[in-house]
């Protein structure tokens, strides 16, 4: 039996269909909620979000269903009751995350918390539920603070995530794949096999030259090509953008080099950003509108595309507790 936690309940991995593994309904840095320049009415929020999810659902029909993994984490505007309503009305499966985007998005209460407390927090959100929503998290978010170097709090969060992953079986995905050596050391010390970890944003523009891809691959980790669509060709690209062809070529090197099973792919788009302008025109549907045609154009077959977006993602999201030795 396979089990995956979505915000509307635990489902079989066979029901997931096409999976966008690293996305956001809406992301905002903690504190951005105080700055009214970003506020939108509930009507605007639904209006910006529902059509994108409905389109995602339509686009994914050949795969039977659409699954949207929300990578927002605690303190960044994660709003699980809202996600539940979106999922119910659009039929898109939404997987919520526990954990933190990085130490610099963990508020003082969690900044002061021990590894043990953080572990309990993550385990509770996966096994019991998030707040009073009743919804269980399906994945654990961790990440590297700004500055391309893991800080002590980042490491504490990674260690707690490794422990929570072993107990609950939920996978881990990271914000940034830079400075991976301390992360790999923590996962080894905690006995978490690295195929349970997706090292995210390995494809973004600012990380290039700072990622030890060989170390991640050697440890069995998964490489996240999950910022597809943040192209420097856009009229106003974000600072982490990258030339479209360069990012595509990077992925193609993996696919053509026999490393399909170690990659996962997503767009990291915001349906309706919470504390920043977002990138106009960039949605999860880039995957269908631009990337898949680009992959076909490069000679990648449908079986490989299915493997990445359906089989590998489902295998990754399936809860796989690791019993203590």
């Amino acid at each position: 039996m396979t089990r995956v936690n979505t915000v509307l309940g635990t489902i079989s991995a066979h029901e997931l269909g096409f999976v966008a593994i690293h996305e956001h309904i809406g992301y905002g840095m903690p504190g951005s909620e105080l700055d009214s320049r970003w506020w939108k009415t509930p009507e605007e929020r639904y209006d910006e979000t529902v059509p994108k999810l409905r389109q995602f659902h339509e686009n994914a029909k050949p795969w039977g269903a659409a699954t949207f993994v929300d990578a927002t984490g605690i303190c960044n505007g994660r709003d699980v009751d809202y996600y539940k309503s979106l999922s119910a009305k659009t039929e898109v499966h939404i997987v919520a995350s526990t954990g933190f985007v990085g130490g610099d998005t963990a508020l003082p209460f969690f900044e002061r918390a021990s590894v043990e407390y953080l572990t309990d927090q993550f385990v509770h959100e996966i096994d019991v539920g998030i707040g009073t929503s009743g919804a269980k998290a399906g994945i654990i978010k961790v990440g590297v603070s700004r500055g391309f170097k893991m800080k002590e709090l980042d490491k504490r969060i990674y260690r707690a995530a490794a422990r929570a992953s072993k107990v609950t079986g939920a996978p881990i995905f990271t914000h940034l794949a830079v400075d991976c050596e301390p992360a790999l050391a923590i996962f080894a010390e905690e006995g978490l096999p690295c195929h349970r970890v997706l090292f995210g944003h390995a494809d973004d523009g600012v990380s290039q030259g700072r990622i030890n891809e060989q170390a991640i691959l050697a440890a069995g980790g998964r490489i996240g090509f999950d910022t597809f669509g943040y192209d420097l060709e856009l009229p106003d690209p974000p600072f982490w953008g990258r030339p479209r062809q360069e990012r595509l070529d990077h992925l193609l090197r993996y696919l053509q080099g026999g490393l399909v099973d170690q990659v996962l792919v997503s767009a990291d788009a915001n349906c309706s950003p919470l504390g920043w302008p977002g990138v106009k025109g960039h949605t999860v549907n880039y995957l269908f509108e631009q990337l898949i045609p680009d992959l076909h154009g490069a000679g990648i077959d449908d079986a490989t595309i299915d493997r990445i977006f359906a089989q590998l993602a489902a295998e990754f999201l399936t809860l796989q507790p690791i019993s203590a030795q």
């Binding site: 840095m29 130490g103 508020l107």
Partner: protein, 353 residues
Amino acid sequence: MCLKHSRGAAEPVPPFTSLFLDRPADREATVGTVNTVLGAVEASQLGVTLLSEALMYVLPGAEYAFDIRIDRAEVFDRLAARLAEFKAAGGGTIVDATGMFQGRDLRLYEALSRATGVHIVATSGQGPENMLGGYFLTPQTNPPTPWPAQKFAEMFGREVNEGMVVPRLERRAPAGMICTAVSLEGMTATDGSLVRGAARAGATYGVPVFIRCGSDALAELQLAIEESMRPDRVVIAGLDRRDAVAKGWPLAVAQAGACVGIDHVGSTDPFYVSDAERVALVLDLIGAGHADRIVLSSSATGVAFGEPGNDLPFATVLTTFVPMLEQAGVSRDLIDQILITNPARLLSVGGEA
């Protein structure tokens, strides 16, 4: 060292001009009145006022903790009981000096004020740096430069000029004071931006600025004054800290024309002086001619989540400290000045009680 401490250099100080900020809203009635959660109230109506209390304190992030449940009905009853006790002891107004990011709940405070008849003043501001969210410290820009004073001034100023925020939803009543704090181990660049931003907003919109002092109260006061903040509109709080008293800050702050926050009345924490020493401090300030610069409070936490808080009643100043002052020979007039006149003058928009 705190992980979030900014490494940004202090920003250059622009000459102050209110041209940077929106014009104050045209609210004729506000001059000489106080911004409470239920709207403008004549300063003369406040009665005994405590300037530094916490109704609901929430350590940022605690609202997301898996093992913390905030039961609003229970919180309401507990706070209503504490406010009723304060009122019965002769109290009139409580200032919730937690700022905008440590549990402030405007709808709850409005309902509490209606139910108990106690005036409640809620505050804008935040700090010190390690209490801030990442939005202010590592923004999504390259490089992630922490917020400068001007952006804090705009955000705090709008809370006075347009109303305090219910995050992502709406603005309600204008803030009555701006609170900030400086790190105890020394002022960070962002602490400095917070103080300057609070002072710019306070000077422009006429509300007092309340600074929990760090390692150098006079330098921190100086920052606010450099931003055109009148010293008599500034409260330097935490001056009943043992180190603050030892360094002579209370008298120096009063001599500089600012208000001296003796705001841990009833605390038995050794970090602060005892109540007996607080009485001596009050006598010293009165003796030096600074009775008009003294404010008293107890920093009680009505309810606290994420931190232990304390069990002090809001009535502590009235029930335990006032008798000690009387016993020490402080006249009723002076006590009224400290508990009624000084806070009314401070909280009056524009400072004219």
